[in-house]
């Protein structure tokens, strides 16, 4: 797992629940873990430990927390750059869905050492997509719920009305079903290829 993932968990807790709650988490972390948020690959067990502590402090199911983290990555102003990178995937939510195959490679270009699971649309009937999230290593396991939250937020971002459901695990893959109801349901958020000046 990359330290950036751990850092995102920390930012999520701080930005959503406040610094006091994060201090509680920090106090409960294994003191033997040095810089868990460094910009380097680190062991997946560190992330598991961090999430277990967060789960304990927030007293919410882990899957719900992971889903919230996915949403947070798209919607929180602190993550404007993550959201922009995702929007490079396509001009519409449907195009974006089809671009997900490239996402792990894109992420890898952005940050070598960041390993994401393989993403592929395995079925597409009418407006219903089935997305498979397949781990490629221990480092890329357990991303399913986070992707569910992230995709839901991206549908909103594009102004698309869609329902998303977690369909459970199948042969090591996590399945997410996405049904596009109305492509141009609302305005969506602006996106211009050119970043705002000063960036």
């Amino acid at each position: 797992m990359h330290g950036l993932v751990n850092r995102s968990v920390e930012r999520f807790v701080r930005d959503t629940y406040g610094i006091e709650i994060w201090s509680q988490v920090a106090r409960l972390l294994d003191p033997d873990i040095g810089a868990f948020d460094s910009m380097q690959a680190c062991d997946a067990s560190v992330t598991q430990h961090l999430l277990a502590v967060v789960e304990n402090v927030l007293k919410r199911p882990l899957r719900a927390i992971e889903e919230d983290i996915g949403t947070y990555l798209v919607t929180h102003p602190h993550n404007a750059s993550v959201r922009r990178l995702l929007r490079f995937g396509g001009d519409s939510f449907e195009e974006f869905m089809h671009s997900l195959d490239d996402l792990p490679d894109r992420a890898h270009l952005a940050l070598p050492g960041l390993e994401l699971p393989r993403l592929e649309v395995v079925a597409c009937r009418g407006g219903v997509f089935t997305l498979a999230v397949t781990p490629v290593s221990p480092e890329s396991e357990g991303f399913g719920a986070a992707f569910l939250g992230l995709l839901r937020a991206m549908a909103d971002d594009y102004g698309t009305l869609a329902t998303l459901d977690y369909k459970g695990q199948n042969a090591g893959r996590e399945l997410i079903e996405v049904e596009l109801l109305v492509q141009d349901h609302s305005e969506g958020r602006d996106f211009a290829l050119g970043a705002e000046s000063g960036r």
Binding site: M39, F88, D91, L109, L111, A192, A195, R199
Partner: protein
């Protein structure tokens, strides 16, 4: 024919035999919002920077197949790359004696996208422009994250360094700091006095009133030493009841004498702890860097300790200034010849 080229290379133009634009691709047209490009001379819109072979149509055709570097004459004056193919007499593409030229934003891509609000549709589907924009933003984001991670590490390092040089009980510098301070003074050829100080009767306070009282006395003594010295002087706790003071700019023996008297008197003022008056004093051995040709801190410390030893032999609350002409007996084993940090050790 035009539709085909518009799809494959939206930044192309076909030029007539006299260098006028016969057709411009949609993106080339888009970055010239001032009006229809047809009929305009290509070299009036773009300055040819390389290869420089004149400004005629012949010169342009002579550059056929070569990498071109051009600059848009309109603001923001984007630098572009291009390639041109001279058209033969019966080319199916365009006018005989003309040329087909294709342009690219190259490294000016982000600027062009911002300046003309370009979208995905303005680029050929095979163009890597979107990937390049993506990478630029991804790079900015990762650099930012790296920078912040570095700042966090740097902050941790500074804190650790401060801790490494600080005596936690009193907040004074510790033994490790002595070498740093002394090296800086000696390298800067600044004179200073080195004072070795032991608290007298401290152990009695510690034994009779307890460690809490002892700690309180140490903190109060440290505070008193800081108040009696100036901001560019240094007060260090070596551990236990041993302190070292470095007084910068002190060169006269009378000055040291006066300072030592004043400090001892100050430390003899009773220190109140939970209603109990704790009484201590101090013995001081001092040495002047001025008294040595080439001051080195280890020797100076040993001489200050010898002077301190002599002071203690004369009774408590005394101070002795090391006299190179008449050195006191060096004690066989000074309290401080053991190497290493004694910070925090209890008497």
């Amino acid at each position: 024919m035009s539709t085909l080229f518009d799809t494959l290379c939206p930044m192309h133009a076909r030029l007539g035999a006299h260098g006028h634009i016969v057709h411009a691709g949609p993106t080339l047209q888009r970055i010239h919002p001032e009006g229809d490009l047809r009929g305009r001379r290509f070299l009036e819109l773009f300055e040819m920077r390389r290869p420089v072979k004149g400004h005629s149509m012949e010169a342009l055709r002579a550059a056929s197949g070569l990498p071109l570097r051009l600059r848009m004459r309109q603001p923001p004056g984007l630098a572009l790359k291009g390639v041109l193919v001279a058209l033969g007499p019966d080319s199916p593409v365009g006018p005989a004696g003309g040329a087909l030229v294709n342009l690219s934003f190259a490294i000016a891509l982000p600027e062009a996208v911002r300046a003309f609000d370009l979208t995905r549709a303005d680029f050929a589907a095979t163009d890597l422009a979107i990937e390049m924009l993506y990478l630029i933003e991804a790079k900015t984001m990762t650099m930012d994250a790296l920078h912040k991670a570095n700042m966090r590490l740097q902050g941790g390092k500074t804190e650790a360094e401060q801790k490494a040089f600080t005596d936690t009980l009193t907040g004074l510098g510790n033994r490790r700091l002595l070498e740093r301070v002394a090296t800086r003074l000696i390298a800067g050829e600044r004179d200073f006095a080195l004072l070795s100080l032991d608290l007298d009767f401290f152990k009695a306070v510690n034994y009779s009133l307890g460690h809490a009282a002892g700690d309180h006395v140490l903190r109060a003594a440290a505070q008193a030493m800081l108040e009696e010295t100036r901001s560019d002087d240094t007060v260090l706790r070596f551990g236990g009841d041993e302190f070292v003071l470095i007084l910068t700019g002190m060169t006269r023996r009378a000055e040291v004498d006066e300072f030592a008297r004043r400090l001892i008197a100050r430390l003899e003022a009773p220190i109140i702890h939970q209603g109990e008056a704790c009484r201590i004093s101090a013995s001081i051995g001092a040495v002047l860097s001025r008294d040595r040709d080439a001051p080195d801190i280890d020797t100076m410390l040993a001489q200050a300790d010898a002077a301190l030893y002599a002071a203690k032999h004369r009774g408590r609350a005394r101070h002795v200034l090391y006299d190179p002409a008449n050195p006191p007996d060096m004690p066989a084993r000074t309290k401080r010849d053991a190497k290493g940090d004694e910070t925090g050790s209890r008497p």
